[in-house]
């Protein structure tokens, strides 16, 4: 078993950050090698070095035994290394097929494109992946999950012998994840070496052969997946055990209704959605990709126009037409797409956190009290363990998970009565995830009303006091939380298609 990749003593510094400290990593043909670590541990950085995007400050890389210098993406491709980036790297104005084959378009000698072959090839890849995506759709019209599928299709189309997947399932739900795993197993059978990065612990068991753990930019160790308990791996990652508590459903019979949604409609993506949310309650939203959960949240929040339906906040009708109205009414919404809707990437951490609540940090003349803002920002950096050299660091330089924490901090600072969290733990490591769960439970205990939209069923089950399930824009049912509800029952509602849309609402 010859390793196809051997990385040794890899070192990398960014201004203010020592991202990699003499890290080692190796990959054998035909294995799935999971790379684990907390947010900001350096996983993406290590893989960016392997795919030629960054140059290491020190260390050696061997491919098939020969020492190489990987000068750029093209060189990496030449060595048979393909990568799916953590942050989507797609061209939104181009079609799906055009994205997949960018740089490798079928063309004749004069550079004239063969668009038919392009689309057919893309369709063939989706066929193989068992995914329904129109190769001719513009990427900008796809949801993040589908865009993630396009990235995967693109990486597959390279037929690389080494495939790096940096959190490919962050935006996928269980079923899509299953499909992806089937694909990965197929690749492994063909002798492809796969590097797999994920924060979803259960996946490690299911797909990986070996696990390498990193902490704080340093190599911790490599173990075989089959005979290492998850707890051990978590311990290697965070240096301690995590509490694995289950949901504890409070008695909310006497609690007043904080948010009442009645007959909400928007085109075909939100159809006649009604539900109540009580103070102190955590309402989970489950459903398949494109079920319309995000749309419901955006319509409630005023980010998209509502066609009909009423929203009541604390028993009073709320005329919400813009996010500003929603925030005034005490509703906060943490978007699933942090890059586009959550963060001003060019601004620093401090000002991103302050974005929702600048009015609280300014006097009547409009002067910003920067020292107060800085203090609050540093408090959140500390309490949420955001890895950043300072509160003045530009957010775009943070690792994905740490960016997500900044978005969370932003909404915590606003202190809304009703909080909608759309995929709050996307890209967040186990340790931080546990912290965020505790945070949500605390917030609910303080009397806040909370909606959690999540594509991870364990997460929904871990958090929700009640679980709303959506399918094709309709609310197909609301189930009680806790051990009483099984995953199968959720899946049944999540796939309950158009017939009998009444009756399902209990």
């Amino acid at each position: 078993m010859n390793p196809v990749i051997q990385m040794h003593g890899i070192d990398k510094r960014f201004p203010g950050v020592h991202a990699l400290k003499s890290v080692q990593f190796d990959l054998i043909a035909g294995e799935v090698h999971a790379l684990m670590g907390e947010n900001g541990a350096g996983k993406s950085t290590l893989m960016k070095i392997l795919s030629g995007i960054y140059q290491p400050d020190g260390g050696t890389i061997r491919v098939n035994g020969a020492e190489v210098r990987i000068a750029g993406p093209r060189a990496a491709q030449g060595l048979g290394i393909g990568i799916i980036h953590q942050e989507l790297a797609l061209m939104p104005d181009l079609t799906v097929a055009q994205n997949i084959f960018i740089g490798r378009e079928p063309k004749n000698r004069f550079g004239v494109l063969n668009e038919g072959k392009l689309n057919a090839d893309a369709a063939a890849i989706f066929q193989q992946m068992k995914v329904a995506i129109d190769p001719q759709a513009e990427v900008r019209t796809l949801t993040i999950a589908k865009q993630q599928m396009v990235e995967i299709a693109k990486a597959l189309s390279f037929r690389s012998s080494i495939l790096i997947m940096d959190e490919p399932t962050a935006a996928l739900n269980d079923r899509e994840t299953d499909e992806l795993f089937a694909i990965i197993r197929g690749l492994r059978g063909e002798g492809v070496g796969v590097v797999y990065i994920s924060h979803k612990m259960d996946e490690i068991r299911r797909i990986s052969d070996r696990v390498t753990v990193m902490r704080d930019g340093a190599y911790v160790g490599t173990v075989t997946a089959a005979d290492t308990p998850i707890e051990t791996i978590i311990n290697m990652m965070v240096g301690r055990d995590l509490d694995q508590s289950v949901v504890d459903i409070p008695d909310l019979s006497g609690a007043e209704v904080a948010l009442r949604v009645q007959g909400l409609n928007r085109g075909r993506v939100v159809r006649d959605v009604s539900f109540d949310l009580k103070k102190g309650e955590i309402l989970g939203f489950a459903g398949l990709m494109g079920a319309g959960r995000t749309e419901v949240a955006r319509v409630i929040f005023g980010a998209d126009k509502r066609e009909s339906g009423e929203i009541e906040v604390h028993g009073r009708a709320a005329a919400i037409r813009t996010p500003q109205d929603a925030v005034k009414a005490g509703i906060g919404y943490l978007s699933e797409d942090r890059k586009h809707f959550g963060l001003a990437l060019g601004l620093d951490v401090r000002n991103n956190i302050g974005l929702t609540a600048l009015d609280k940090f300014s006097d009547r003349a409009g002067r910003v009290n920067d020292s107060a803002l800085a203090k609050v920002a540093r408090d959140y950096i500390e309490s949420l363990a955001i890895r950043t050299p300072s509160d003045k660091q530009e957010v775009r330089l943070l690792s994905g998970g740490n960016q997500q924490k900044v978005v969370i901090a932003k909404w915590l600072l606003r202190d809304c009565d009703i909080l909608i969290f759309d995929e709050p733990t996307r890209g967040i490591d186990v340790g931080a995830k546990a912290e965020i769960y505790r945070l949500l439970v605390d917030l609910a205990a303080q009397g806040k009303a909370i909606i959690v939209i999540s594509s991870e069923l364990p997460e929904v089950l871990r958090l929700s006091h009640r679980i709303a399930v959506m399918c094709e824009g309709r609310l197909t049912g609301i189930l009680p939380g806790g051990p009483a509800t099984s995953q199968t029952e959720i899946m049944r509602l999540a796939t309950q298609r158009d017939m009998a849309s009444e009756g399902a609402l209990t």
């Binding site: 995007i53 093209r74 061209m91 960018i102 066929q127 068992k130 995914v131």
Partner: protein, 333 residues
């Protein structure tokens, strides 16, 4: 999750191709045409329509060049003075050096492409923002035009066929009822060709890709710098064609002309629905944008609207046309 790929319905495909949007963009143009036809009997004469088309030819060609650059997410402020510079170069070759017409044509287009190549290199390799690189080019070329022409217009009196390039009429020879000047013919042929390049060739694909997400294209292993330079060079070559058109129309290379033409060209592009953010746009839209501008100016002149009010009305209509287009697009999805 089933594996069927939803078959694109014809309507969807039409939407996707943007054809619908482009058809709608005609509306503002049609409204203007109808209005002026009713307002003045002199407007809808063959000779005036041809005059409008001819007035569009130079701005239209420049706007095509600007479209390419704008789709990549860049901007080219040098199109106007590059046009002038190539006109002067053609004058130098034909009049000062007394060479034959084909050399003048080659020199103008070649010099245009060369200057575009320089702009492209400044932008792609030296990472100078397009605005600054082409602003610098604009000034440099403005100065050089004056220098090499000796601050005087160069006349093409030794090349009697020169004006034919733009004002002769090949079409008119075939169909005497339609004396379409060659300049207009060239504009249309060029528009068709560049449309084809944008939609059917690798160069076109990368033009859109660069404007959509340059970093993603680079990460895909594409030589983004090289392609970007090629696009700027192509745009420069097109400015060379504009230089030939204007100098043959004026039978002289006017070295001081050209400043301000870049704004008209960019305006035509944006009115035509191409986004300054890059990634989307079409040549058809640009041609419509350029036509809207010339129809408007011609119509106002024919109605003898006072010149100061012409300016005001042009400003209002540019805003209104783009707004109408936005509303329609928003309604269309």
């Amino acid at each position: 999750m089933t594996a069927t790929v939803p078959a694109a319905s014809p309507l969807n495909r039409l939407k996707a191709s943007g054809a619908q949007q482009k058809l709608l963009a005609f509306a503002s143009l049609i409204v203007l045409l109808i209005f002026f036809s009713i307002a003045s009997e002199n407007f809808l004469q063959t000779s005036n329509i041809i005059a409008i088309l001819q007035a569009t030819s130079v701005n239209g060609v420049l706007a095509i060049a600007a479209t390419l650059v704008i789709i990549t997410g860049g901007i080219d402020l040098s199109v106007g003075t590059l046009m002038t510079f190539t006109a002067v170069v053609s004058g130098v070759v034909l009049t000062f050096w007394g060479m034959a017409l084909p050399f003048g044509i080659l020199a103008a287009i070649g010099m245009g492409a060369f200057c575009g190549l320089i702009s492209g290199t400044l932008i792609a390799r030296m990472k100078i923002p397009p605005f600054i690189a082409t602003l610098g080019m604009m000034l440099i070329l403005k100065g050089l035009s004056l220098v090499i022409s000796g601050t005087k217009p160069i006349y093409f009196n030794d090349t009697p066929s020169y004006p034919e390039l733009s004002t002769g009429s090949l079409v008119g020879k075939l169909i005497p009822a339609l004396p379409l000047p060659n300049g207009v013919l060239i504009l249309f042929l060029l528009a068709l060709f560049i449309s084809w390049v944008l939609n059917r060739t690798v160069l076109g694909r990368y033009t859109f890709a660069l404007g959509s997400n340059e970093e993603a294209v680079r990460l895909s292993g594409v030589n983004t710098d090289g392609w970007k330079i090629a696009i700027y060079a192509l745009a420069g070559g097109i400015c060379g064609i504009a230089g030939l058109l204007i100098s043959s129309r004026l039978n002289s290379a006017q070295p001081a002309l050209g400043l301000g033409y870049e704004l008209d060209a960019i305006a035509a592009v944006v009115i035509g629905g191409t986004s300054l953010a890059g990634g989307r746009g079409s040549i058809l839209g640009t041609i419509i944008g350029a036509l809207i501008m010339s129809v408007l100016l011609n119509g106002l002149r024919i109605l003898s609207v006072a010149q100061e009010w012409q300016t005001v009305v042009t400003g209002l209509i540019i805003i209104a046309a783009v707004y109408a287009d936005m509303l329609r697009r928003r309604r269309a999805g």
